[in-house]
């Protein structure tokens, strides 16, 4: 059994089933101003939201495709063959028993209700375009924590949403932030009042079920002064021969002294385009952390960003990416030091296998007025076979000489000697490879809640599982 054969083995995607499509409302394929207006009308939105959607739509139409990432894969997206809105359940339930059976079974299989009972403060489960289930622990509600799906957030707290919506990620930011703003549906709206610490994480889970589906959730998290919250999200989709499109926008606002940690385990099936804009603003002494795991999807382009606006604020982006057969993970981070005494840390780990391609694309900038900033960037790549590829595109724009910058990058390969060493300790070739891969990801999994870390390790073991007979 050659090492290569084990590495060639294609991992099996375990979340690739699909339910019957029982849509209560389903839009025809394709996008137009009318589709955008119809979505807004369906949701009974205030006029200002309809207006911003329409403006965003026209911006999307006129904006060219990005010229980075994977341009040939981007060109293959057929925006006329996407369903931009699909509702499978007419209500967002507070009790799993009331969620339609097929959908409930799917979330059961994904382990969401179980996780909720054990270790979460609140859960929102989105299926296609809308949240089908939502809950928050009573004690948090009593402390004034707002955790809603985004549509309910807009209905119940229109002033807060209006104040912050598009304030961190304007729709003009890029083609896909424009698309999301035009057709957004679902996502999370969170407000944590001053001084409140949400001890256990809240979770959002996104499931695409239909073929050629477009999912465009929009998330807005505001952590008021001195508060803290940990938000975790997961996602999966069925495996189809046609592509689906997931394009989210996430905006985080950490007011003075607040702490937001946002963790993602992205496990879309290999036919999903994942084109996401995530950005946070950190005010004085606030802290924003993105913990970002990309395991699935066809093409991911995602660069979680932090604007360090207030003095003494801190940003961390810790990410891992796994690129298997036919996959390209173009991931990274962006951090802008606008204020003095701000610090940032980027740790990026990527693995490519079976011809997969991983890229780190990062930008760290320090503005002329920002004194005494500290930046640390580490990117490591592990390549499992000869046909796979890893690229690093790091950019640093430092306009203040007092900044202390550190940058390290490494590319390594799994060696036969490493595998032999582990096999000599009773581990099969697949197990040995999984030990190496999990070890490589350890600095990342260490940052995840334990349950997520276990889940991620299991996913990686599945990816290494192969055809040894």
């Amino acid at each position: 059994m050659a090492a290569k054969e084990a590495r060639d083995a294609v991992g099996e995607y375990k979340a690739g089933w699909h339910d019957p499509e029982n849509a209560t409302i389903r839009f025809d394929f394709g996008l137009s101003e009318q589709v955008v207006r119809d979505i807004s009308a369906l949701k009974n939105e205030p006029e200002w939201m309809t207006d911003i959607r329409v403006k965003a739509f026209h911006h999307f139409e006129s904006r060219p495709m990005p010229t980075w990432g994977n341009m040939s894969m981007l060109e293959d997206i057929d925006f006329d063959k996407v369903c931009y809105y699909l509702r499978s359940s007419d209500a967002t339930e507070k009790d799993w028993e009331d969620v339609p059976e097929d959908i409930r079974n799917t979330f059961d299989k994904l382990g969401i209700p179980e996780a909720e009972q054990k270790w979460l403060s609140g859960v929102t489960a989105q299926y296609e375009s809308e949240a089908v289930y939502h809950s928050i622990r009573e004690d948090l509600e009593q402390q004034g924590v707002i955790f809603l799906d985004m549509d309910s957030g807009l209905r119940e707290y229109p002033e807060i949403v209006k104040e912050w919506f598009c304030s961190v990620v304007p729709y003009q930011d890029n083609k896909f932030s424009a698309l999301n703003t035009a057709v957004w549906s679902g996502g999370s709206f969170i407000y944590v009042p001053k001084g409140v610490h949400v001890e256990m994480p809240v979770q959002a889970y996104f499931r695409i079920n239909a073929k050629n589906m477009g999912q465009f959730e929009r998330t807005l998290i505001i952590a008021d002064e001195g508060s803290s919250i940990h938000y975790v999200e997961g996602c999966t989709a069925p495996t189809y021969s046609t592509d689906s499109l997931h394009s989210a926008v996430v905006e985080l606002i950490a007011l003075p002294g607040a702490h937001i940690r946002y963790s993602t385990v992205q496990n879309w099936s290999a036919n999903v385009y994942n084109l996401v804009t995530k950005r946070g603003i950190a005010h004085e002494n606030a802290k924003i952390e993105w913990v970002d795991g990309n395991i699935g999807s066809k093409l991911t382009m995602k660069y979680p960003a932090v604007i360090l606006k207030g003095e003494g604020s801190h940003a961390e982006v810790i990410s891992v990416a796994y690129s298997g057969k036919g996959q390209h993970q173009d991931a990274g981070a962006k951090i802008h030091h606008l204020a003095s005494n701000t610090t940032s840390k980027i740790l990026s780990k990527s693995i490519s296998k079976d011809g997969g391609r991983g890229s780190y694309r990062g930008l760290v900038s320090v503005s002329p007025k920002a004194e005494n900033c500290k930046l640390n960037v580490v990117c490591d790549a592990l390549i499992l076979d000869d046909g796979s590829r890893s690229d690093t595109y790091p950019t640093m724009e430092v306009a203040n000489p007092s900044a202390r910058c550190e940058h390290e990058a490494s590319v390594s390969k799994v060696s036969d000697e490493q595998l032999f060493y582990l096999m000599s300790r009773g581990h099969s070739e697949e197990e040995a490879l999984a030990l190496i891969v999990n070890g490589f990801f350890e600095p990342f999994t260490r940052e995840l809640p334990m349950e997520y870390a276990v889940e991620l390790n299991k996913l990686m073991a599945l990816e290494m599982e192969g055809s040894i007979g």
Binding site: F420, S424, R425, G426, H427
Partner: protein
Amino acid sequence: MASDTPVLGIRDLHAGIDDTPILRGIDLEIPAGEIHAIMGRNGSGKTTTANIIMGHPDFEVSEGSVELNGEDLLDMEPWERARAGVFLSFQYPQAVPGLQVGNFLRKSVAAIRGEDAAKGTEFRKRLKEAMEELDIDRSFLGRYVNDGFSGGEKKRFEILQLMLLRPKLAILDETDSGLDIDGIRTVSKGINAAVRGTDSGALIITHYSRILEHVQPDKVHVLIKGRIVKSGGPELALELEERGYDWLEEEAETTA
């Protein structure tokens, strides 16, 4: 195991790499409870012998047999050999960044001796005792496997694994190189504890006789150009220390 079947039985072993022969007919038997040593110069085939017993995929066996307690090893994958009871202490143990020592030990014990052996207080007690015996600090368990280890730490870690995995056959490939006298003494204690008075056997591969002062071998074999040219008691190691290998090479030339 009270039978006469040796722990390790090698008969007429021919092997090489990419059509280049390295081992040219090796015969070796290690009975239960015995420690044997193979000595020889660089390139004589010592490490190749160790690798072939463990099942390194780079080497091809063209003739002969290798048996563990009478069971054929050559058709087994390396991990199957490990589970059957073969252990190799590597000359150059590999680093696995991110894999914690404690976690790795538990997983390896589970793979080789079963899940139950890797659980509970019994395992923790064994681990604690073995670490004390080898002068290894508890903080070691949180470090990554061989990552940034000094030469001495790597060798101690190999012996720690030996003590926990309790193999039937322990092969120690140049475990003494890179160790100071204290290290050799400590490591030797571990080897003796793993073999003496048990059903297991050990094969020590070395350049020098130093380690053999602490691990008294029952037999010493001299390997030259892929053949065992001489076998004897512990005194042979001392003789080699004094006289070198030239005289044996000349002997081997004339009998070849």
